[in-house]
């Protein structure tokens, strides 16, 4: 592991902190299937965060702490806004995991690819719930 991978993994952790924060206001605006999707997504981001903390500590890197609050892409005033914000959160988190790929190999790269893939799949699920077509993008994580 190199300095490049330490930076990329720290950026991934910062993005996971932000995603967990965002699902707070998102979740309260949603009901039924969408609310369940938000809970599942938040739980998945918490698992990624916890794993990243362990990985960074193992590398001798101080994990960046969560900020008290994060700027959301738009105010979460209703269910539609909540699903748009959730989609954007997944797209942004996909991008940081994509940036981990070039600085990793083997098992670490597979972990990053799985994280990128999970974000892409959740973004697709949010577009479906929000009835946005197309529900996929050709290059998840590309900004």
């Amino acid at each position: 592991m190199s300095e490049g991978s330490n930076e990329a993994l720290s950026a991934a952790l910062a993005a996971e902190h932000a995603a967990i924060f965002a699902y707070g206001p998102v979740g309260v605006r949603l009901t039924r299937a969408a609310a369940a999707a938000a809970r599942a997504a938040e739980s998945a981001h918490r698992s990624r965060r916890d794993n990243l903390v362990v990985v960074l500590v193992g590398l001798g890197v101080t994990p960046p702490p969560a900020a008290p609050s994060y700027a959301l892409p738009e105010p979460v005033t209703d269910a539609a806004a909540a699903m748009r914000v959730a989609t954007t959160v997944e797209e942004r988190t996909a991008a940081v995991w994509r940036a981990v790929l070039p600085v990793t190999t083997g098992r670490e790269r597979l972990d990053a690819l799985t994280a990128l893939t999970d974000c892409a799949v959740r973004a697709t699920r949010w577009r479906e719930l929000d009835r946005v077509e197309p529900v996929t993008v050709p290059f998840p994580g590309r900004t």
Binding site: A94, R98, A99, L101, P102, V103, G106, R109, L110, A112, L113, L116, T117, C119, A120, V121, A123, T124, R125, E128, E133, P134, V135, T136, V137, P138, F139, P140, G141, R142
Partner: protein
């Protein structure tokens, strides 16, 4: 052949009567003949360089174009909502083929005229698409894990996109 010409010129030259030189000339011609035989195309013509081995990512292009054709065939016989979904996925696969071709600096082959004949029902068509997409996802994951740092991000996005197609087909 070149060695024969050399031998005959030495024989008719002014030193043709000097045995030592003539023996060396004959010996030289034999060596040259052997060299010519070994290379197979003479001493003057350069042997053409062998074609470079195909890029390991080249098969991904054909795979993406074949998938795209399969989705378009299925879209043609699907209800309008599903057709919109399938056509959008086909466009993703087309974009993947273009980007991989650009990455490995190879011309994009013309797309197959049409995919396989569509299945009898929409349900079986979607099941067949899911199977093909799952296989293609595995291909992209393997390519991503084996890729050099300069290629891995594109392949990671393609793998993630194919997984999102499976979600979209659910």
């Amino acid at each position: 052949m070149f060695p024969v010409v050399l031998t005959s010129r030495v024989r008719t030259g002014s030193r043709d009567d000097v045995p030592g030189i003539r023996r060396r000339a004959v010996l030289l011609s034999a060596v040259l003949a052997g060299a010519a035989g070994a290379t197979g195309c003479g001493l003057i013509d350069e042997k053409p360089a062998p074609p470079p081995p195909p890029d390991p990512l080249a098969p991904l292009i054909g795979e993406a174009l074949a998938l795209s054709a399969t989705y378009r065939s299925a879209a043609a016989v699907s209800d309008p909502d599903l057709a919109v979904r399938l056509t959008a996925i086909a466009a993703d696969h087309d974009a993947h083929a273009r980007e991989v071709a650009q990455l490995i600096a190879t011309p994009l082959p013309s797309a197959p005229a049409s995919g396989p004949p569509p299945s009898a029902s929409a349900t079986s068509a979607v099941a067949a698409l899911r199977a093909a997409e799952t296989k293609a996802h595995d291909t992209a994951v393997a390519a991503c894990l084996a890729a050099s740092p300069g290629r891995v991000a594109l392949l990671g996005s393609i793998a993630a996109c194919r997984a999102s197609h499976l979600e979209a087909l659910t």
